[in-house]
């Protein structure tokens, strides 16, 4: 929309800077200062495109807002997007190239735990901060790793007691057979035991299963009142559709771990109702912050754009990076680390604080449920501190 205006503005800023500091390094009159490059390694093909696109929306809005205010310390931000094809090996290749060739200030992304764990050694070797903004199992720690989304305790601490109080104290855990559901369930088990509830069953499934009837029958037979469900993506949608068809959803309430607005519309009209989740952002919120944020995204990306917490957390990651560098007053990778540690940033949902030691965020959480074709807030849970698992 206003690229020319923005460029003119940046040009004007550069000229003023020159005029104000005539002894500064000689630069052609009116030329833009060199851009601050920030990499983004995200899945734009290979299966998790949906999350890659959500992340991109947030990053692009943050970049546009930073540049509209004159950039980072007077230099515009330039995002370098790389498609990791939902693959760890590709993620590492793209990350090394961004670090070595493009000399980026930091890298945002990726989405999956496998890609993140594969990238972390590369980032540490290149002494380049990784800004990870997806909810995950915890334990990604290090000087060059910052996490801007939730870890298990933030999602579960209020969700499990709420479900136990309102729906029943017998829980069944069902999820995919990998690290995130395992860590989620381990944490949930502690919470349920503390509440005097029971875990009547727990099982994990490989990815790619298309027929869940046997599992659904077993969960139904267990008499559980709450199903803690951690099967992300298409498999999760398939399970919920079949559970609905086979009548399971009338018999218990689903706590759909990792649910977000990105799933809405996948179940069909009137289906997948009354499922609960705790998230750091609810797009349907009536509060000024979220409403304004959604409007800003939709003004750029279209009226129908789905806005999930992934958009907000990726926006948060880049916005925090800009604040951090401004706080320290110089643009380099160590300045990013120094600046981010202990920083508080104003997010659409309120202040977010980045832990000085664990590099994870304390942020406002919301208990939400599916209702009609929306995810709606049940209760604002206030700021939740992370148990990052950094030892």
């Amino acid at each position: 929309m206003d690229t020319t205006r923005r460029r003119a503005l940046a040009g004007a800023l550069a000229t003023t800077a020159l005029a104000a500091a005539p002894l500064a390094a000689p630069r052609p009159l009116g030329a833009q200062p060199a851009a601050v490059k920030v990499g983004a390694v995200l899945p734009f093909s290979g299966g998790l495109e949906l999350f890659g696109q959500q992340a991109r929306l947030g990053l692009e809005l943050a970049a546009a807002e930073i540049n509209a205010k004159g950039g980072i310390l007077g230099r515009p931000v330039e995002l370098l997007f790389e498609d990791n094809k939902t693959d760890p090996k590709t993620s590492v290749e793209k990350a090394s190239r961004l670090v070595a060739r493009d000399e980026v200030l930091a890298i945002c992304g990726p989405i999956t735990s496998s890609a993140r764990d594969a990238m972390i050694p590369t980032m540490a070797r290149g002494r380049t901060p990784l800004l990870y903004a997806t909810n995950y199992e915890g334990g990604a720690c290090g000087r060059y790793v910052f996490c801007f989304n939730t870890v298990p305790n933030q999602e579960l601490a209020k969700l499990v007691p709420y479900l136990a109080r309102t729906k029943g104290t017998s829980f069944y855990c069902f999820g995919a057979d990998y690290v995130w559901p395992q860590k989620m369930f381990a944490h949930a088990e502690k919470l349920v035991a503390g509440l005097g509830g029971t875990i009547v069953g727990k099982e994990l499934t490989p990815f790619g299963v298309k027929e869940f009837a046997p599992v659904i029958r077993r969960i139904e037979a267990s008499g559980a009142k709450v199903l803690l469900f951690a099967l992300p993506g298409a498999d999760g949608i398939t399970f919920i559709r079949q559970a609905e068809d086979l009548g399971l959803l009338q018999k218990l309430t689903v706590g759909f771990l990792g649910f977000s607005e990105a799933y809405l519309g996948a179940f069909g009209p009137g289906k997948g109702q009354d499922m609960y989740v705790a998230v750091p952002f609810v797009a349907s919120s009536e509060a000024t912050g979220p409403r304004d944020f959604v409007a800003r995204i939709r003004a750029r990306a279209g009226k129908e754009t789905v806005v999930s917490h992934y958009v907000m957390t990726h926006w948060l990651a880049l916005t925090a990076l800009a604040r951090a560098v401004e706080k320290v007053g110089r643009i380099d990778r160590e300045a990013v680390v120094e600046g981010l540690e202990g920083l508080t940033v104003e997010a659409p949902t309120g202040p977010v604080t980045i832990g000085a030691k664990d590099h994870h965020v304390t942020l406002a959480m919301f208990l939400a449920r599916t209702e009609g074709d929306r995810l709606v807030t049940v209760e604002a849970l206030g700021p939740q501190a992370p148990e990052a698992g950094c030892g």
Binding site: T205, A213, P214, R218, A234, D235, G236, Y263, G268
Partner: protein, 284 residues
Amino acid sequence: MPTVSLLLLDALGQALGLFLVASGLALTFGLLGVINLAHGELLLLGAYTLLAAERAGLGFWAGLALAPLLVGLLGLALELLVVRRLRERPLDTLLATWAVALVIRQTIVALFGPAAHTVPPPISGSVELLGVPYPAHRLLVMGLALLVGGLLAWLLLATRLGLAIRGTVADRTLAAASGLAVRRLDATAFALGAALAGLAGAATAPLVSVDPQMGLGFLLPAFLAVLVAPSGGAAGTMLGAGLVGGGESLVAAFASPVVAQLAVLALAVVLLRRVAGRRLRRER
């Protein structure tokens, strides 16, 4: 614990659903010997044809009829442009069809977006069966699988086209020498296999998440079913699907989905060794 008859019904449902998916592969892989890794994506196209038909207001049944037609035509093009040219190089066929699969998947992402879609079943209610409500659409898919199985058996065993296909498979040179247009038969059988994939995709769409990755999950069990099938015809494939699909369902019911997949894989390995041994002995 749910009743045994209910578990058996679930297992039968899974077996018949798998047969529907594997029936196309039985033709292209079981009979023609083409390793078509794009089979899952042909299925995907069937599901998205149904989705597009629903969106255009044509409804489920029109979509179900359109899917095999469109996917069959695409299968014909695939045979003429790719598969035929690699007839003597099975390994290259594998790579080429995998490439086709990638192209189809990303085209779907470009056209329909990466998100999952929903296709409502044509009959949304349930039927009281064995004392529990059983989703009507599952019964519909089971019926359709039986119908396809019957038609496939009839086509292969009781028609001149079926005879010609079987003759070509048994002895290509002799069939060609007897005046059969073997290349045209290849194309016909391949297109038919693709059409069955399209039909399976459309029929199963209301049961699963319709998204660009849906084909992948069907590919492996379908190949397993065809591999363990004692013969390439309809009855053999039905048996293979029964072993793989029904077996997985029953093991999952008594153990867990992880154990079920391992068990089916182990079963396939054992059966394949026996089949391979038999073939080897025959060739000697």
